[in-house]
């Protein structure tokens, strides 16, 4: 990560800012402490010196007053005044040394300095002067000495000079400040690190994870876990985001379901529309066809009557009659088809075994004529449907099974039923002529007849399909082709009030 992006991160920005501010405060404090300490040091030094001088004055004064310079010197030597004092001198008002005492090498240095020293003005009220040169503090103290002594008669306004090393105290001060500043700086660094750690673990990490989790929402379907945090605000944010995500998923699922449902409905509508279109087309075509026949043969009839062709006249009349009959049947069929779904009888519980048994009795004549064998599974499950319509379904299926039989083979029809996931699947299987796979989708079409050599308008299976669909079921055909027999499977809901 780049520094520029790092510094904009909360876990870096705040601690760095804190560190800078803290260190600034430490520096300011250090400076203040230094100046203040220096002042304090000066005051203390001043007091020290003053008391020392006063004491010295008293001691020296005694010897000097007696005029015993050496005694004074000796006294000063044994004074052991202050270990910091390097040199002690008694100067006359003109700056001439009356008495000098060296305590260390630094004392020599002090002497050199003092020789360049400009004597302080007598008028200085302070009566005390401090000069600092190379950590050497020099103090001048106006001294009153008894003028009775001859040798130092004129020395009444002399100066007591004292030089001592300020380095020790000064360094002590610096050491003290350094120590304090270091402690403070250490504290600042500690606080900074602590802040960094708290921000990192309790704020930034949860926030980053929150971001990651949010990113996931769009891609993953499952529940995203939002991180918890010690801080209330982040914790609340995470919780509400989790809630929001759940709601979002829920809403999305509902939307998807809704859309699916709608798509299904649209598909259904389109299917119905297409069916309607096909229906209109079929009807117009199939009704027009016998009309063409009728009008055509009426024309031919006129011709044949004119020609006196009696044979043809009767043939023409037959064609006209047949076309008219066909039209009547077509119209009846259409009416029947339109009734399904429009006229619904109350659904009732029907045992499939009973249903087919009833149909077998109805079409007894046909069965005998074809010499067909009908096997009906005795314990077939029950369905809940319009009985009248289901009889039509059963009859049409059995009719077809017998009608489309192969020559020289005894027709065998077997009706069975199974339960598959709350649905009843009923199968009507025959050993008839079968239907090629490519015609399978055409058998249920209105007025579609695969073989014109068989009787019928081609409405039977269209009717069956319509009835099954009105009952929310489905029907399909299975046949491996010519001579392989045919199996019709229709699926309806198991006995239930809700199925209709």
């Amino acid at each position: 990560m780049k520094l520029s992006s790092n510094i904009r991160s909360l876990q870096w920005f705040l601690p760095v800012l804190l560190a800078i501010l803290g260190l600034l405060i430490v520096i300011v404090y250090g400076l203040f402490e230094f100046l203040e300490g220096q002042h304090r040091l000066e005051q203390k030094t001043l007091t020290d010196i003053r008391s020392q001088m006063t004491r010295l004055q008293a001691t020296l004064g005694d010897s000097l007053n007696r005029g015993d310079k050496y005694a004074a010197q000796r006294e000063v030597a044994y004074q052991g005044v202050n270990p910091a004092i390097n040199r002690l001198m008694l100067l006359d008002p003109q700056g001439m040394i009356i008495l000098s005492m060296n305590y260390s090498d630094l004392g020599q240095q002090a002497k050199n300095i003092s020789s360049n020293f400009e004597m302080p003005d007598q008028r200085i009220r302070l009566g005390f002067l401090l000069q600092k040169k190379n950590h050497l503090i020099q103090a001048y103290f106006p001294t009153q000495i008894n003028t009775q002594s001859n040798s130092i008669r004129n020395h009444q306004n002399s100066w007591l000079y004292m030089a001592f090393n300020g380095t020790y105290q000064y360094e002590e001060l610096l050491q003290d400040i350094k120590f304090k500043v270091l402690i403070l700086a250490f504290g600042v660094i500690l606080i900074t690190l602590l802040t960094w750690w708290i921000l990192k673990t309790m704020v930034v990490r949860p926030l980053i994870e929150l971001g990651k989790a949010t990113q996931k929402i769009g891609h993953e379907k499952q529940r995203v876990d939002f991180p918890d945090s010690w801080f209330n605000e982040i914790s609340i944010l995470a919780k509400s985001m989790g809630q929001m995500t759940d709601n979002l998923y829920k809403a999305n699922d509902q939307l998807i379901q809704h859309t699916k449902k709608q798509e299904g409905l649209i598909q259904l509508l389109e299917d119905k529309n297409a069916e309607l279109e096909r229906f209109a087309y079929t009807v117009s075509h199939d009704l027009k066809s016998p009309l063409v026949t009728v009008k055509g043969f009426v024309g031919l009839l006129r011709q044949d009557i004119k020609d006196n062709n009696a044979v043809r006249v009767s043939g023409d009349l037959e064609q006209i009659a047949a076309a008219a009959d066909k039209m009547a049947i077509l119209l009846d069929d259409l009416l029947e088809l339109s009734r399904i779904g429009r006229v619904v009888n109350k659904p009732e519980k029907i045992l499939l075994s009973d249903l087919f048994a009833e149909v077998v009795i109805t079409i007894q004549g046909q069965i005998k004529q074809a010499d067909a064998i009908i096997k009906i599974q005795p314990d077939m499950p029950a369905i809940y449907a319009d009985k009248h319509r289901m009889l039509e379904v059963a009859q049409n299926l059995l009719d077809n099974a017998i009608k489309f039989s192969q020559a020289n083979i005894i027709p065998e029809v077997e009706v069975t039923a199974t339960i598959d996931q709350n649905k009843v699947v009923c199968c009507v299987a025959d050993n008839g002529i079968g239907i090629k796979v490519e015609y399978h989708n055409r058998v249920f079409g209105l007025f579609n007849r695969l073989d014109p050599s068989f009787e019928g308008t081609g409405i039977g299976l269209a009717l069956v399909k319509r009835i099954i669909e009105v009952h929310n079921g489905s029907i399909r055909i299975e046949s491996n082709g010519h001579g392989q027999g045919t199996r019709f499977y229709f699926t309806l809901a198991k006995t239930s009030e809700r199925s209709l």
Partner: protein, 162 residues
């Protein structure tokens, strides 16, 4: 009867599932100039079998028809499928196919031409119309129209109308 130069009779293949309509077409031709042999098949599969010399017509030596009159709604194989098959089979694609149907649905007309039908005729209700239409259509396709497999030149002069 219209014949080819080689003297071979020119057949008409009528694909029509409605017997009455087939009869009507045949009778209309009888009364008119076109008296060629009409081969009538009842469904799409038979039509293809006849044209391709397969199935029921596998062993019989049939010659290709001069034109095909094709109904659209047919059992087994639909008229449009028959048309598509004819027009995509190299051996058959040059045979003129006249759609003769009761349907005047736009969809059917469009589809028929899409599959390269040569003509689309809606069966007229009126008998007189029907007869005159059959005559005109038959004569046009059998006599006036020149088929690609025949010798160039004035067909009428080289063909005899019997």
């Amino acid at each position: 009867m219209i014949q080819s130069i080689s003297g071979k009779p020119l057949d008409i293949l009528l694909v029509e599932d409605n017997h009455a309509h087939a009869e009507l077409v045949k009778r209309s031709f009888e009364q008119n100039r076109v008296s060629n042999r009409i081969i009538h098949v009842e469904d799409g599969q038979l039509a293809l079998d006849y044209l391709l010399g397969q199935g029921e017509y596998a062993d019989s030596d049939v010659s290709l028809p001069h034109i095909v009159l094709l109904d659209l709604r047919l059992p087994k194989v639909d008229g449009l499928e028959v048309l598509q098959k004819i027009k995509t089979t190299e051996m058959l694609q040059k045979i003129p196919v006249v759609i003769l149907t009761t349907s005047s649905a736009e969809k059917d007309v469009a589809k028929a031409y899409e599959y390269h039908a040569n003509s689309y005729i809606v069966k007229p209700m009126d008998y007189a119309c029907f007869v005159s239409l059959m005559d005109d259509m038959g004569f046009y396709w059998m006599a006036w129209n020149q088929n690609p497999w025949e010798c160039p030149g004035n067909i009428l002069s080289s063909q005899a109308i019997v």
